[in-house]
């Protein structure tokens, strides 16, 4: 198959994926999204011949629009534009999870510092203030006091970009020094890991240490439901242990899997390519069925 890889930076994750694809003899079309122009009628050169395009854009904004345009051209893309739109924005993710009945931390969105302050006071301290768009634990604030909240709200209000004035306030979940990352394809877990740190942020990008996590039935079910809530695809579902269950706090649509690949015995890029192959095969079968019946 011919696999398009939409990128702007080749991380180790992309290198693992490219290597697996090439080792299996697949044709790979690397497309640097920074060089592209997306018109209303014609897909960028090279992408129309792809059996599937894998969105590995590093920038969330590019991922959202590029997948939307590919969808418009009828070029198969994973993850879908719908999934990108829901996962790129934390408020959208919270709404999607809530609508699907997936346990997720209590969240309030407010548009002014006064309204945000009221929300923070309602949650009590500590609570968490997050940017609606962002990753790797950046600009996340654990608010331990009213004075800290006032200072951070003032800073956010003057940062400039309008998204910083969408105040996303969330309950602080007392997790046991770790969270859980499960990488899944269409809701089916490939593997899971815990990410542990003395810091309240347990992102791998913040230096948390990764250990294998055996995905139990409860986690598998939550991962499947969270995946379905955002439209499925290749996803990184993040969960926290609450003491009496789990809560899903994030779903990542251009998931980095190198830390998981290092932590577990499962060959993660191989599982991803297995999934891509089966998707392309299913699409071809569906097309043949349609042709045969028309």
């Amino acid at each position: 198959m011919n696999v398009g890889v939409l990128y702007s930076r080749i991380r180790r994750d992309e290198k693992l994926l490219l290597s697996e694809l090439r080792e299996r003899g697949h044709e790979v079309t690397k497309v640097d999204v920074r060089d592209q122009q997306f018109t209303l009628s014609n897909a960028p050169e090279g992408l129309t011949d792809c059996d599937v395009v894998v969105d590995r854009c590093l920038a969330t904004s590019r991922s959202k629009y590029a997948t939307r345009f590919l969808d418009h051209y009828g070029v198969p893309v994973v993850n879908s534009a719908e999934t990108a739109a829901l996962c790129a924005d934390k408020a959208e993710t919270s709404l999607a999870l809530s609508a699907a009945g997936v346990p997720t931390p209590e969240t309030t969105v407010a548009f002014t510092t006064d309204a945000a302050m009221d929300a923070i006071e309602s949650f009590g301290y500590p609570c968490v203030l997050k940017p609606v768009v962002g990753s790797w634990g950046r600009l996340m604030a654990k608010l331990d006091s009213k004075s800290a909240a006032e200072a951070i709200l003032e800073h956010k209000a003057t940062l400039g970009h309008y998204e910083h004035k969408v105040f996303y306030v969330q309950e602080f979940v007392e997790k046991p020094g770790r969270d859980i990352r499960v990488v899944a394809v269409d809701g089916e877990p490939i593997a899971g890991m815990t990410r542990s740190s003395d810091h309240w942020l347990t992102n791998a990008a913040k230096g948390a240490s990764a250990e294998p996590f055996e995905v139990d039935d409860e986690v598998a079910e939550l991962v499947a439901r969270a995946s379905e809530a955002v439209g499925g695809g290749l996803l990184g579902v993040d969960l926290m242990e609450t003491g009496d269950g789990y809560t899903v706090h994030e779903v990542n649509h251009t998931v980095e899997f190198k830390a998981l690949d290092d932590a577990v015995d499962v060959d993660v890029p191989a599982a991803v390519v297995d999934w891509l192959e089966s998707r392309v095969e299913e699409t071809a079968t569906d097309e043949q069925t349609v042709e045969a019946t028309t």
Binding site: A59, G134, H161
Partner: protein
């Protein structure tokens, strides 16, 4: 082997170097983007932007 566009020091390349890959200059610490592989051309990598991530 090629040279760092920031400090001019030698930069060792991995065997499977890819266009779009980021390398660190061991001498000055600059993040370098691989612009092409045949021949290898490096430039200073773009600064981190707010919406980068996964």
């Amino acid at each position: 082997m090629t040279t760092c566009p920031e400090c001019g020091a030698d930069v060792t390349l991995p065997d499977d170097v890819e266009t779009g890959e980021i390398l660190d200059c061991a001498t000055c610490g600059a993040e370098l983007e691989v612009l092409s592989t045949e021949p290898v051309e490096l430039d200073v990598a773009p600064e981190l932007e707010e919406d980068w991530g996964e």
